[in-house]
Each structure stands twice: as C-alpha cells, then as structure tokens.
C-alpha cells in the first residue's frame, strides 16, 4: 500500500439519529502536511476521536505503516507516536514549561523526578527548532503563542512522529501565525507527518501538500493543494459557492449617536487590575464598529459591562441618550440592547431547555408569550417555528430538540435569530462566528450587515482579523484595557492592525500615563 504512515480506511461512526462519519478515508504520507478541511459538524472531531481511541468505529480500520492497529484509548495512540495540539491548551498554569512538558512521562530516579535529563532533552528541541522558550518560565507568565509552542514541545518530547494540530491559528496574531507555519514546514522537512485541522483556506494553501475534505459526515475526496483553487476547496467543503467578501454599501441614513461609552473603567478581581481602563467611544446609527485585539486585552470585560453581565467600576454608558450604566440586564434589554454573548454555552443558551424555550429566552416575559404568569405554549411554539424556518436552524426534533444535542453552528444561529428578531436599537455581538464554518459565517455576516442597513448600530467584538477587516465600518483596537487605535478598515492593512494589537503602535499614547 505504499508509503502511508497512518491510514484510516472506510471509517464509519454512527450516533443515535446521525452518521457522524460515513465511510471516511484519510491517508497520511510520511513527511507531508495534510490538511483536514470541513465545516463544523462535518465530522472532523469525530474522526480525530476515533484516531485517539475515544470512539470505536462501527466499520473501517486504522493502519500504521500498512499494519492494522487497534486503538482503544489515547495511550494506545500515544504509543503509536500520535500526538495532538488541542484548540484549547491543556497546560498547568502554575507549572513551568519544563514541568508541563514532562507531565505524565516524568523520568525518575529512585522515585524522584529527574529534571536534569528532561531539561537536556527539552533544551535540545528548543534549540533545534528555534522556539525561543525558557524551560523554567511559568506558563501563566508567557503569551498564548508561546503556550502553543509548549504544547508542540510536549509532542516532540514524546518523540511523536504524527503531529495533529487542531485549529492552531485561532488564538494567534498574524505574526505568530507566520511563525507557526514555518515551524510546521520544518517539521515536515524532518520527516514528521502533520495533520492540520482547519477551516481557513489561505492557511491550507500556504502550508499543506494535500487536503482531505469532509462534508456533513461524508468523504468528499483528497486533493493536491497546489493544483486546487480556494474556490474549488470551498465548494467541496460547503457543497455550493460561497461569497466570503461582504458586499456592503455605504450607509446613507441618519448617522446620529446611538451608543456612547464615557471613561468606562471595569475592575477585574481575577486579573487584579482594571481590565478596562478609561475607555471612551461611540457607535452611530447604521454603523458597525468592531473591537479588535488579541484575546484577553479587556474586550470581554468591556462587553460584559455594557451588557450588564458585570458591573462597571466607573464611567457611563448611554443608549439613545438614556443612561443605562446602572440598569440591570432586563432593563437594558427593554431599552433596546441585544446581545450575542461570547460564550454561547455559558451565557447564550440554557442547554437543557428545548430549542423553543431558548428562542424566547429574552422575551418569554412579554405579554405576547405569557398571560398572568402562564406561558402561552402555542404562541411560543409558533414563534419558534417561524424563526427556525426563517434562519434555517437545523436540529433532530425541530423546536422540541434539547439544545445541547444541536451542533455549534445551529446553536449560534438560534441565538442570532433570537437576538435579531426582538426589538432593539443596538446589537452587541461578541465573537459571533467563533468556531463556525464558512457557510454559517457567511450567513451571520449577512445578518449583521442587514441590521446595520436597517439603521441600527452594531458593536462587534472579534478576534478574527478577516472578519474585522471585512465587516466593520470602523475598527477600535484594544490593548491592555485601553483603546489604542481608531482605524478605518479601508485605509489600514492587516499588518498594521497586527502592530496595534501587539501594542507596538498606539495613537492615544498621550492620554495614558504608562507607555508600551
């Protein structure tokens, strides 16, 4: 069968009511970078879980170097030399880089951990790939990009030869992404085989040799990346043409101020400092203002203070001229605030509730849906049916589906339907497309532009630079709790944006006392 290091052949995995993997083939050559492309819910995670022995497939087999292997648990996978960098890192914050790397495979002498031997090996790898890490630094003190390198080091330390990267670029700055791409290439040169899970096509084009595409649990084929265009890849993944460039016209209506934030300070107890430090800005009617920045620079705290999930320490928030700073969440909703929360599982949905119950989560108390304290089930159901239809929210049992069992994209669609269909004047959308596939992203972008075109305002918080550049009318960059740039997306380049995000550039330096 040639030179395949890992083969997954005709893998079929069924769950009640759904075929997550329908006869999927994945063949990884030695020394290649192989991309695994597919929308959310296409079956990528299931396939990886099968490879790691977390699920047993009903049909199909896994081979290593042509030999059939049985993988019953992640330890088996590790013994076969398979390692993975997860999307969410699995690091102990209070441990050093070295301690994290050897965790689970500690070399020991007479019951004591032998750091000496481990340190030599770790430093060798760091030097070889030019990682620029200090083995004794604490995880809590290093950047997200460096933390990812620690995850990669973990795989190298264990002598894994098959490296899986699960959406590794989601948390990185443009500069860090470039660096990661170089690292991946150098691994491939050293004969390691890389499986790169992503839905970012430009990254695939840049590093991958071949690409396997999944669509709705089905195998769509494996293609040579060099001879396949981005458009063809998209079509394979989604099953139709997708327009990722947003066509939006200049807003022509009345551009009066809608949301005003003045000198807002939000103290964070967990960070032990002001997470939002004297922030002032405004959003006009018919405007999409985007808050950009690297994760953890105060964007989440800013959004939470505006929407009422947390309290502002000082400053004021005005909506339509009404001071809503001290309002509770319900009163903010009534005043005209709509909120797509950053964490849809924590805030956006009651996962144990049915889809219908979640659709009315922000308006069950309105007279339309309740009478003297009794819920109008029929009205709720028909409203839910209407929204599910209009926004194409797919689920197993329609509006009676328990939301937990729905896919992430459809959960997010339900939230967006709920927030856009109610009365509001400003939409606060925090990472509305996080972890979604291009089909869903296109849909959500269209909805957000429509909201703007109706003369409403949108405050968008996003970590995706493409989204920031494409969607916004104005970009505010946050760095360490302050707004460091108020930029026009038509004039600024991605590289320049990256400099603002990393704190290298600051237009408002005079206003703040501490420099960069």
């Amino acid at each position: 069968m040639g030179n395949y290091i890992i083969e997954m052949l005709n893998i079929t995995k069924r769950f009640p009511g759904i075929i997550a993997n329908d006869s999927i083939n994945l063949q990884l050559k030695k020394g290649e970078i192989h991309a695994l492309l597919g929308e959310n819910g296409a079956g990528k995670s299931t396939l990886m879980s099968v490879l790691f022995g977390l699920y047993q497939p009903e049909e199909g087999e896994i081979r290593k170097n042509g030999q059939k292997v049985q993988i019953n648990n992640p330890n088996d996978a590790n013994n076969l030399g398979i390692g993975m960098v997860h999307q969410h890192f699995k690091l102990v914050e209070v441990f050093s880089v070295l301690e994290n790397i050897i965790l689970g495979v500690e070399p020991s002498k007479r019951g004591f951990v032998d750091y000496k031997e481990a340190r030599v090996k770790v430093n060798e790898i760091i030097k070889k790939y030019n990682f620029g890490l200090d083995a004794d630094e604490l995880i809590a003190n290093i950047s997200v990009g460096k933390q990812q390198k620690v995850e990669i080091l973990k795989m190298l330390y264990r002598d894994n030869e098959i490296l899986i990267f699960d959406e590794p670029t989601a948390v990185l700055t443009p500069q860090e992404i470039d660096e990661l791409m170089e690292i991946m290439k150098s691994f491939a040169k050293d004969g390691k085989s890389i499986l790169f899970i992503t839905h970012k096509l430009n990254e695939i084009k840049e590093v991958a040799d071949r690409c396997t595409v999944l669509q709705k649990g089905k195998y769509k084929g494996t293609v040579d990346v060099k001879t396949t265009s981005v458009e063809e890849l998209t079509k394979m993944m989604v099953g139709r043409d997708i327009n990722l460039v947003i066509n939006k016209e200049e807003f022509k209506g009345n551009k009066s101020k809608l949301l005003e934030v003045n000198d807002l300070v939000v103290h964070s107890a967990t960070k032990g400092k002001d997470a939002v430090d004297n922030v002032s800005f405004f959003v006009n009617k018919g405007e999409i203002v985007c808050i950009a920045g690297i994760e953890g620079n105060g964007q989440s705290e800013l959004i939470q203070a505006i929407t009422g999930l947390s309290k502002a320490s000082s400053g004021s928030i005005l909506l339509n001229g009404i001071d809503i700073t001290k309002f509770n969440v319900r009163n903010k909703t009534v005043t005209g605030l709509s909120h797509i929360p950053e964490d849809r599982h924590k805030y956006g949905l009651v996962l144990e509730y049915t889809l219908a119950n979640n659709i009315v989560l922000q308006r069950y108390w309105q007279p339309r849906f309740q009478n003297k304290g009794f819920l109008k089930k029929d009205e709720i159901n028909s409203y839910a049916e209407e929204l599910v239809e209009k926004y194409d929210v797919r689920s197993g049992k329609g509006i009676n589906t328990i939301t937990r069992s729905m896919s992430g994209g459809n959960q997010q669609k339900a939230i967006i339907a709920r927030e856009i269909e109610k009365d509001f004047s400003i939409l606060i959308a925090a990472q509305p497309t996080r972890g979604l596939d291009v089909g869903a992203i296109e849909f959500i972008h269209k909805q957000i532009v429509e909201v703007r075109d109706e003369g409403k305002g949108v405050l968008l918080m996003s970590l995706e630079l493409d989204e920031v550049m494409n969607l916004s009318d104005r970009i505010l960059v946050m760095y360490e709790g302050k707004i460091v740039g108020d930029l026009d997306p038509k004039k600024v380049t991605i590289e320049e944006l990256g400099l603002y995000m990393s704190g290298a550039k600051n237009d408002f330096k005079g206003a703040s006392s501490d420099g960069v």
Binding site: N328, V329, R330, V350, L351, Y353, L361, L375
Partner: protein, 390 residues
Amino acid sequence: MILRGRAAMEFKKLINTGIEKVKSNYKEGKFSPFFAILLAIGIGLLIGLIVMMFSNIGESIPAFFTLTFGGLTELGDVLYKSIPILMTGLSVGLAFKMKLFNIGAVGQYTMGMFFALVVGFYVELPTGLHTLVAIMAAFVGGALWGFIPGLLKAFFNVNEVIATIMLNYIGMYLVDMWIKGSGKMFDFAATRTKILPQSVQLMKIGSSTSLNIAIVIGILIAITLHIVLNKTKFGYELLATGFNKDASNYAGINYKKNTIITMALAGGIAGLGGAFAILAPSIIANNSMTYEPINVLANNGFMGIAVALLANSNPLGIIFSAFFVSYIQKGGSLVHGGFSYKPEIADVIISTIIYVSAFSVIISKSVGDFLKKRKERKANPSGSSDIKEE
C-alpha cells in the same frame, strides 16, 4: 374545581407520555431512569435481606416478606404516614430544581408545626376555619425559615446548605423552648403538648386510621407544583436558573428575587408538612397528636431529602416515592413487632436504595449497553463481526 380538572388532565398526560417513553426506550434498547430506580429498590431490598440473614438467619425469610408486603395490610396507615414526608419531599425537590440544596426542611417543618400549634391553642375559631388558619400559619412559619437562608444566599452568597443546617437547630431549640415555656400548650406532667381542640384537627378519611384530608391537599400541591414548574413564567425562570445560572442572568432573570421566593416557598411547603403531622386526627376519641420537646431534629424533615432524591425532584414522582418510603417504613415497624428485628432495618433498606439510586445514571447506561449488545448479537447471529478479515 377548575384546577382539579386541569390537574387531572395534566396528570393523565404525564402518565401517558411516561408510558410512551418507556416503550420507545425499550424499543431502542435503552434503559430508562424509571427502571434504574426499580433496580435500585431491588438492590436495596436484597441488601436488606442480607443484613437480616446475618442478624438472624432463621427469621430472615418470613420477616423479609413481612417487610416487603406487610405494608399492604395497613394501606390506610401507610398513606397517612406518607403525608408529612410528601410535603418535606416536595420542599426539598422544589428547591433542588433551582439547584438549591434545602437541608432545612427539618427546621421549616418544625416551625410550621409550631405555628399550627399556636393557632390551635391560642385562637378560637369554628371547625374547618380553625384548621385552615392553622395550616396557613404553618405555611408562614415554614416560609420564614426558608426565607432567611434564601435572603442570605441571594445577598451575601452564604451557602444554603450551611445556613439551613444551622437554622434546623435554631428552629428546633426555639420551638422546644417556647413550647416548654407556655402553660397553655405544654402538659408538664406528660412532658408533651396538650390535647389540641377538635376544631383545629384535620378531617378524617375513614375511621380505622388517622388518614385525613391532608393527603388530598398534599397531592394537589404536588400537581400544582408540576404545573407551576412546567407551565408558568416563574417555573420557566426557576428551571432556567437551576440549569444555567449564567444564562439566566444573561436573560435578565432576577436571581436574587427568585432564590428568595423559591426558598420561602419550599420552606412553606415543609411547614405544611409539620402542620399536617400535628393536626392529624387521632383514632382515639377526644384525643389529638402531641409533640414531645426533647431536643431532637424532626426525622420527617430528613426523610424529605430521601423522598426527593428517589423521585429525582419531580413533584409527581415525589407522590409515589413518599408512598414507597412510607410503605417500607411500615414494613419495618411490622418486622419489629412480629420478629426480633429492630425497625431500623427499614431505614437501612431505604438508605441503601437512595445510595444505589444515586448511581442510577451509571446503572441505566451499563444495563442499556448490555441490552443493546444483546440485541445486536441477536440481529447478527454469526457473532464474529470483530474478527472479520478484510
């Protein structure tokens, strides 16, 4: 009566959907939580039997039969004794729907009983009305004992488990102190409360036992709670908060208000349990139930936790679990009467059942897997699918 019609309909619907669920689960080879509870009961009984064999092998088999079927001979008494634990069960169950662990049913029950006693001894009213006022007073007393931990939880984030446990003791000592200090209520010679006036006692059902109208009230309250939880705005908010506190905050649900209301309501319901216990009619003429203030926490309050757990906090399920717990307790007391066993054997069994039912999720999964595998084997009789060659 409208409520009753509606309640009856609800009840019927629920039973029907329950049957459907069990049927479809069986078809899909799944093992329902209902069966898991039955299995837990079976295992509990088995362990009870083993304990009985160890303590006295000769009597163990007949005694075990008395334990499991003895309750049938005194169903009226079983029903009567299920009333207080039905109420405390509903109290714990309601709070738990909002993820509040109300260990305070004990104190709330005791406060409710005390308020009912006060109305019974100090207020003179015509029969019927007197009972009604006493019951309402009991609700207020219990509600107060739920309101305090609710308030502490809502505004100062004091863990409700600790607050309610403390209040159990405060309530019990206060009540015992107040009763002993009242000549009108306390019979110093008998060291118990005096005989309550007939006008305040609950209406009897039948004549051979103390079974009374409270059983109907209790069941109606359970059905009402079921409707409140599933059909009303308050229930929607309560369940949403119980499932996901952050999302309910995001939806603008007032956590503080609902915590206080839920705890007060749960306390009130437990308080009713106290009233129903003390206001029950005696089978002896011109007599009544009495309370002996001996600084002991009310067991009926703790049994409420067991009753609620066994029914997974479902109000309608709690009706049945209260009956069941009462039934086994009756069996236990009969064993004590006819054999050399102590009545605690019933408590051993009930505790074991609760213990095992805590694993009901694991049990239902493993038995479900087993059923599924067997089914697959039947469908695929060759049985050698795993060593098939490509």
